[in-house]
């Protein structure tokens, strides 16, 4: 469906995307993860034909975006990170406008809009101006505006930023439903729990390059991380915390994706038995009373941090 072949894009001295190749299949929910400035938005902008790569090719349904951008744009719906709506206009007027610029015929348009508004749970607010909507409602209309022309490909660029848990849960079910409808979805988000639950495959991009790709299980295997051991212990002093945090076992290098505080410790490792015995021995040596031990499989956040490292980004 979407074939990205060895694309590169530079802005002056900055190489935003470097030799990137992706292959997103029809009906697939593909999440593209990466720190800020990793090249996610540039990739989406290239896919949307906002500008062209310096090198490489992008083909959608076999058609090159460089050769026929408008044909491809007809198949695409984008939900940007911003609430890309006109605040003075009502939901109905906004949706009419976005439908018309996406070449939706005027015939039966209002019925279509009504259907989408019902789908978003906003049918009774159709005539209210967007400025009077809550953040969650705006997000839903933001998504609705991308659906009216019934695109087969959807780009969601952090669509749930700043949304309350109720709205996020609602939107999450919409994503699931769109996926069930067979839409091809390219998704970016910093809510990794959502990504883990929704994605068929995940691509991790850093410094413009694809550093890992696959299903979550495949990524976990690639990372070598297996489980996280969560140990609850009797509260310790700050001095003691400082002391144990510096130990080779719990220090940032060996436990980069875990944490330790005055009441608990999260250890991410690759060998459950060995890791567990070392931890129990460590706490006994430091006279820290363990209250509870929980072993869970590693989550996407730990896998993501493994590939992108923990250093702060811009």
């Amino acid at each position: 469906m979407i074939e990205i072949q060895d694309i590169s894009k530079s802005y002056g001295q900055i190489q935003a995307v470097k030799n990137l190749s992706l292959n997103i299949r029809k009906g697939e929910f593909y999440s593209l993860l990466g720190p800020n400035g990793a090249g996610k938005t540039t990739t989406i902008n290239l896919l949307g034909g906002l500008f062209y790569p310096d090198r490489g090719s992008i083909r959608v349904n076999g058609i090159s975006i460089q050769e026929n951008p408008n044909a491809i744009k007809n198949w695409i719906g984008i939900v940007p990170q911003e609430i890309a709506l006109y605040n003075e206009l009502t939901a109905l007027e906004n949706l009419r406008f976005w439908a018309r610029v996406n070449h939706v015929s005027k015939q039966g348009l209002d019925a279509k809009i009504h259907k989408v508004l019902e789908y978003m749970g906003l049918a009774d607010r159709a005539s209210q101006s967007i400025s009077k909507y809550s953040g969650g409602m705006k997000r839903r209309i933001n998504i609705a505006a991308a659906l009216l022309h019934d695109p087969s490909i959807l780009f969601f660029d952090e669509p749930t930023v700043g949304v309350d848990p109720q709205s996020r849960s609602f939107i999450y079910h919409i994503f699931k439903d769109l996926r069930a409808q067979g839409k091809t979805i390219l998704y970016t988000s910093h809510y990794l729990e959502e990504v883990e639950l929704l994605s068929d495959r995940i691509g991790i991009i850093d410094h413009g390059e694809l550093v890992a790709e696959g299903t979550f299980d495949e990524l976990r295997l690639q990372s070598g991380l297996k489980e996280q051991i969560h140990i609850q212990f009797k509260k310790i002093s700050e001095e003691k915390l400082e002391q144990i945090a510096k130990s080779p076992l719990l220090s940032a290098k060996s436990n980069a994706h875990g944490f330790v505080n005055t009441e608990s410790c999260n250890y991410v490792g690759s060998n459950r038995t060995e890791d567990l015995s070392r931890l129990v021995q460590f706490f006994a040596e430091h006279q820290i009373a363990i209250e509870q031990i929980e072993i869970k499989p590693v989550d996407l956040e730990q896998v993501y941090l493994h590939f992108t490292k923990v250093d702060l980004r811009d």
């Binding site: 894009k9 802005y11 935003a16 540039t42 902008n45 949307g48 034909g49 906002l50 500008f51 408008n70 744009k73 007809n74 695409i76 984008i78 940007p80 990170q81 911003e82 609430i83 890309a84 709506l85 006109y86 003075e88 206009l89 007027e93 406008f97 976005w98 018309r100 610029v101 996406n102 070449h103 101006s129 505006a145 780009f155």
Partner: protein, 406 residues
């Protein structure tokens, strides 16, 4: 493209503040400027200029000249002693003080330079310029008559001193008759008859200046605001979403231009209709020229608005740039101050502004009777302004605004 234009006009219709700035504020300003330029009641009468006079000569002649000045409608005379008068001018309470010094009558009667002086408040130079016109036409006419007679008599008496007395007396009598008020068939009047020259009498140029000047200035502000909506769309993310849809960057820009053009056309039409119904501005003097002027002014101003927007990288930056450029253009182009009050070089610089061509074009359409080849120049220049600025806007839009998505 049309969807973009329709959406922008719909947004404008819902934005009460923008509507006020686009329509109500210009109406208020036109009314204000029309009142200033004397175009409201069509009589263009102004308040008489107040002037203080100190008569240090206290002669019959000085009393006579003061009495003549009091008859002048454009002047309001107040007698005062010199010191108090000077203080009044220095304090800014009065604009000018005319002093007729001792020996005034003798000098006039002897045909010599009359000792008098006009003191004025330097901060009111413009007002003094207007006052001088009324003062000079009365004083110089009076002195010319009296002084001329004395000068001729002196000349005859000195040159022909040897002439018998009875002949000299006869000549002096003839001179007296010739220079007496209204006497003599060949008496020369010092008054200059001033007649406005226009094909149609009673054209209210003050009103035209107020309407055209304000209209163009406010239109430029509205169009700059419209242009600014490009950056607003960029900032809000709607531009990016639009560029993902199957419309091109050019479609987006042309859509904006169409919306701006429609708004400009409606704005000019409403302001002119207001001037027609409220002030009686004659819109049907040269309807075709007026229609062409509305169209080309709207095109030039909308092109300007979009061009200015394409230069900036943020809304605030564009607001600042456009405000400065519009104020400068309006100041030199004749929207704020009539061109004739400006120095010659500024009158030439004015030709680089949209305001100049639009105001001159509206002058043609409302009151001048020029041949087609002459009046068409103004709409053509405005059309060229619109064409060039639209082209530059499209180049800069792609170069600057789209580049920022990279």
């Amino acid at each position: 493209m049309l969807e973009i234009a329709k959406k922008d006009l719909l947004r404008l219709r819902k934005d009460k503040k923008a509507l006020f700035l686009s329509f109500i504020l210009p109406i208020i300003l036109i009314s204000l400027f029309a009142a200033i330029y004397g175009g409201v009641d069509g009589k263009a009468e102004s308040k008489p200029q107040a002037i203080l006079i100190s008569d240090l000569d206290s002669s019959a002649l000085s009393a006579e000249i003061i009495s003549e000045l009091k008859k002048e409608k454009a002047l309001s005379i107040q007698m005062i002693d010199m010191q108090t008068g000077k203080k009044e001018v220095i304090d800014g309470n009065k604009s000018a003080l005319l002093c007729l010094y001792s020996g005034f009558a003798d000098s006039v009667n002897q045909g010599k330079k009359a000792p008098m002086e006009l003191f004025y408040d330097e901060s009111k130079s413009m007002e003094i310029g207007l006052m001088q016109k009324a003062l000079l036409s009365t004083i110089m006419g009076f002195i010319g008559q009296k002084g001329g007679k004395a000068h001729v008599q002196n000349f005859i008496n000195q040159k022909y001193a040897d002439m018998p007395e009875d002949i000299l007396e006869e000549i002096n009598k003839d001179i007296e008759t010739e220079f007496s008020d209204g006497g003599g068939s060949s008496s020369v009047s010092s008054e200059l008859t001033v007649t406005p020259l226009a094909i149609k009498q009673g054209i209210r140029w003050g009103l035209i200046q107020a309407v055209a000047g304000t209209l163009v200035m406010m239109l430029l502000f509205s169009m700059a605001g419209m242009g600014n909506s490009i950056l607003e769309e960029k900032q809000e993310g709607t531009l990016k979403r639009l560029l993902f849809s199957p419309i091109s960057a050019s479609d987006f820009l042309y859509g904006k231009m169409i919306a701006a053009l429609v708004l400009a056309f409606v704005q000019i039409s409403i302001l002119l209709l207001f001037s027609y119904f409220v002030f009686g501005l004659d819109l049907f003097y040269h309807p075709f020229a007026l229609f062409l002027m509305i169209l080309t002014t709207a095109f030039a101003c909308s092109g300007f608005g979009i061009f200015i927007a394409s230069l900036g990288s943020s809304q605030r930056q564009v607001e600042s740039i456009s405000t400065i450029v519009i104020i400068i253009m309006s100041a030199i182009g004749g929207s704020m101050i009539p061109l004739f009050l400006m120095p010659a070089f500024l009158q030439k610089v004015a030709m680089s502004s949209i305001n100049y061509w639009a105001i001159q074009g509206f002058y043609d359409a409302f009151g001048r009777d020029l041949s087609f080849s002459v009046w068409i120049i103004k709409p053509l220049v405005l059309f060229s302004f619109g064409l060039v600025s639209s082209f530059l806007a499209s180049v800069y839009f792609k170069k600057r605004i789209l580049k920022e998505y990279k």
